[in-house]
Assembly symmetry: D2
Homo-oligomer: 364 residues x 4
Amino acid sequence: MSSYWGKNLKLTIFGESHSRGIGGVIDDLPAGISVDEAAIKEMLARRATGISKIATARKEPDIPEILSGVFNGKTTGTPLAFVIYNSDQHSSDYDNIASTARPAHADYTGFVRYGGYNDYRGGGHFSGRLTAPITFAGALANSWLESKGIYVAARIKSICGIEDEDKNIEQLSADEVRELKAKPFPTISDGQGQKMFDCAMEAKNDLDSVGGVIECTIINLPPGLGDPIFGAFESRLSELLFAVPAVKGVEFGAGFDIADMTGSEANDEFYMEGENIRTKTNYNGGVNGGITNGMPVTFRVAIKPTASISRPQNTVNFKTNTDAELVIKGRHDACITLRAVPVIESCAALCAMDFLLGGKKIDE
Amino acid sequence: MSSYWGKNLKLTIFGESHSRGIGGVIDDLPAGISVDEAAIKEMLARRATGISKIATARKEPDIPEILSGVFNGKTTGTPLAFVIYNSDQHSSDYDNIASTARPAHADYTGFVRYGGYNDYRGGGHFSGRLTAPITFAGALANSWLESKGIYVAARIKSICGIEDEDKNIEQLSADEVRELKAKPFPTISDGQGQKMFDCAMEAKNDLDSVGGVIECTIINLPPGLGDPIFGAFESRLSELLFAVPAVKGVEFGAGFDIADMTGSEANDEFYMEGENIRTKTNYNGGVNGGITNGMPVTFRVAIKPTASISRPQNTVNFKTNTDAELVIKGRHDACITLRAVPVIESCAALCAMDFLLGGKKIDE
Amino acid sequence: MSSYWGKNLKLTIFGESHSRGIGGVIDDLPAGISVDEAAIKEMLARRATGISKIATARKEPDIPEILSGVFNGKTTGTPLAFVIYNSDQHSSDYDNIASTARPAHADYTGFVRYGGYNDYRGGGHFSGRLTAPITFAGALANSWLESKGIYVAARIKSICGIEDEDKNIEQLSADEVRELKAKPFPTISDGQGQKMFDCAMEAKNDLDSVGGVIECTIINLPPGLGDPIFGAFESRLSELLFAVPAVKGVEFGAGFDIADMTGSEANDEFYMEGENIRTKTNYNGGVNGGITNGMPVTFRVAIKPTASISRPQNTVNFKTNTDAELVIKGRHDACITLRAVPVIESCAALCAMDFLLGGKKIDE
Amino acid sequence: MSSYWGKNLKLTIFGESHSRGIGGVIDDLPAGISVDEAAIKEMLARRATGISKIATARKEPDIPEILSGVFNGKTTGTPLAFVIYNSDQHSSDYDNIASTARPAHADYTGFVRYGGYNDYRGGGHFSGRLTAPITFAGALANSWLESKGIYVAARIKSICGIEDEDKNIEQLSADEVRELKAKPFPTISDGQGQKMFDCAMEAKNDLDSVGGVIECTIINLPPGLGDPIFGAFESRLSELLFAVPAVKGVEFGAGFDIADMTGSEANDEFYMEGENIRTKTNYNGGVNGGITNGMPVTFRVAIKPTASISRPQNTVNFKTNTDAELVIKGRHDACITLRAVPVIESCAALCAMDFLLGGKKIDE
């Protein structure tokens, strides 16, 4: 039912595109965690509007204000609430979507789910803006992980079928991870990235949009994280990832490719690397039986093309139950994949932090 | 943390491969639901051992006993507990895996997670046997859905890269769904199914194993099911699917293929079909903004090849931290995909039932 | 762990006495509920500072701002977040309690629980101010209940051992409930109320404080609310009541007196009152087996005397682990019981609303 | 909704008086806890039928069988499921209560709540028998606490208004606690206990029943246990206590008496006892601001007289909605207070263990 996620920490997010603000409450954070507001703003900036020509040109400053739970720069252990106020929007622009469903958007489904009481303006609670609170929390988690030597990195793996160079993201050093995050277009190969960008620009000029695949890895996670059955690492992380609008697929390790492999190929054999247990390959994505095995936890998500496009589209008016045509006005993201990268990193960071906070449940 | 799933109903499962029994508790079921024990046994039979030459020849009768929560053939509304007793196993066979990690299994990760206290025999709580309680609950949910005209169907979409005929599973009639479920090898094209079976047999003879892709759909779900953000239909269902051992990827609608489409292609346009709102295509898999739109909810899962193979494998002894070699004895599933079909259906049925039980949260 | 309560609705509250603000998120509210901001402000005013000579003279305006979840005056069905900004306080006044424990306060226990990272100023998250968000949510619940003909009423039952007239609060009409709520000192007998007030004033002049007992009832609740065992109506309500600072006892119906009765006295016999099933007496407080029986749900809470008193007190410095003496400066509530009345009503209203939202879980 | 309790451990219980069995699942137990089956049986024996002339003479052997989660005498870390099979009962005896409400029982409320589908035989899920699974879990928690030097002790404080000697139960040594638990009638003064017993016997002979007050304390709990606001130690414990049938009141420390005290009396002043912080008095029952302060956590519960009495009673037939008369056949507990003692201890032990398992949530 509720808009919350987590077991050992708990994230609730709230807000609508045109409400007074959007934000969240992070509960059960340990006391004493450093809250690096600069790092949070930096991560939020990576998902901000206006960061690229393939992103929307709307202006959403997204400056968070912490309402509680932080004292002298550290968490107090009591709920950390934060808000990002919405700036004044022209709500009148949205009158048509109160009854005319934008294809692949939640206008119709939200109308049914909430009996017409939902705030339809700008997509309301379904707006991509709601990923900002997730990113706030993810940034906090990410800083905490980094202080423990754990790194989350993501790249755009493909757009328009154009693949990034197949350098293994799992093997990036901490410095290389930082470098990747600093890129305006986070691919390992800048050349391939340029081609992807060009394809997205082409779609934009064509009043269309494109999707993409994001690959993400969590490096240096200790083995032993994950809970039995329904609390599998993959279960908990996928739950979070599918909450991100536009995600339509999630796969770990070799993912769908593993379905065509044989056991003798896919079984990642263990070996000793000095005193550490490692696997030679990582087709299982760092997770065996729902529990981390000490290898990087690597996964990919499929991002669908931005649903908002400027072309005229056929649809229905769900109040009159009649066919309709629609042109969505405004400035759209030609490719949301770019701005989704820090959101996917945030999901990974939150999930890793949640499991780490669970601690060892072994009686001693 | 815990082994439970669900919001409007709640499923807890328990058991180890060699404990006294495995089972579950289903909580918050409405009172008055018919409990069709024959239908439950039928669904359990579809995941039973020995059903095919590509399944393990072990004998696990899997006869459930209901301990509570059913009175006069109907649910009482109080917790429904059930148990499947384990028959006597030769526990001594498992001494080696107490310290030697079977590749791609949870022996090592379970050892770390539980500090060595876990019951390693037969995989313990990580055993595929634990999908029997999920199937029990799924069968109950499935009967309930069918009584409301909602059908869950799954097929093997591919094994060894051999694809089932591309007839759209979403368009099967209720009778065709029943027919599909009754098949010993649930593909739409029996010819393609035979090829897949042959490939699995070949792997078996080769002391190896294969994986596969299962496609599943939920037909006739009403629009409006799904909760905001973290409670998205896809989030809740994927959480459950990734809890099934061997699942390494989950995708909805066009899934990973959608990443390469343009918005104008991927946006499922709405239209009126008589008095009903439908979409012309279903690339979004029946879900917009995390909420069902009335179209079939269709998804695919990637099943990895059975981790247990009879070939010798390199690995480590995680107690002595030394390299080791291992031959896994016993009778293995050459292809677990076949037996996973009713488990995946169960996940779909449970998720659909959970959301339906949530009812309309609209004040009237 | 977390600061939330509820099953069918979910209330999270946040804030510290001196943080930017205090507030809450109410999740899972049905869409379409009228949000009567005037009624909310009215209920908040009843717990405001400065309402009586026996309340603190501090000024806390407590004007809530709704951040999300309300559109056109009605709930959207997505999380309703609200904040009450804290006005500028003189934080320096609190340096002593950073290390010197005020007796019967949470300074020491909070220090241990949060490793010294908690915001000690003004009691931080333990401040009685945190009952304002509970009251906000309770006011919303109360309006909703009243729209369904259900009334929550509370009175001060005793202070200093002075008892209110023993008129049965369960038998008040809707008008009498309104009248009681409008009283500056909510007792049925104004004369007895005056005596209680005088006793509290005496304590104040004596640099001391007093406690009291509040009695509350929920009238017109339908039978059938309550869940099995751990979800008993009394369990869920008491969980909420003991969250209110200063509550040290909770009893339903005859409460502790029932321990001295015999079964033949205490068993509330059923009878038909026209077409309605009623009980002749209500020693069980409207609850049998954890489930409401249609009679008023009546309970009492023991409120301890305000812990902040102006007299010098012996205590310890928990940083140096030495004995210490303390004089608590500032303006205290001589008797918090008065301001606690709307908070207790809020708990009752929230609990009743939560159960009512659960609906009938009967399959039909 | 659901029949579960706990945050850091999770207890689900199931069963009806006449179902195949009753039992529970304890989830999230740390791996490696010793499971002392003898101690569990001993605690179950203390709540068994037939232990005293004032208890029912029915025979319920209550032998638990562990289904999962224990390996080599220790918890595995995965769900611990257990069952107590019901012996054959004469279900036909209960036909009358299918429609005629036993006063102060849940026959009518259960009928409404579950739409008539509940298993009414022997009270079904509302039967006092369901406290056996709570006791199983409590016994396990109690052994674990004792291994850490923490003791839970309870005594009958009063029956028929006859009070046990006012020796402070908080000051019992570990040996004295053991001695108290071994008594057939757990009062500190055997003389007062005899008087209570006599009064209960008198009620029995009079075809009536009596209630009582149980006092319980948890000795040697460390300070710092409790979560903010809704997670207060008192909230969580009271939630559990009110789940026990017959409990109608819960109070901590001085409880309802504190309402009549002044702040200067009730504020437990801190002082140094060697290196330990203690309070001179313990009117707050070991809890300040919802968090333990290192003093014994002491509370009392009011137990109502057994609802089942042999006298004829007036009531209604809730199927025909007519007045009725009822004589409850069978052998009843003249005073359930005695058998409730280990159940109340179990609640205290479970709550203490749950909080202790939460560990320190402080970042280090």
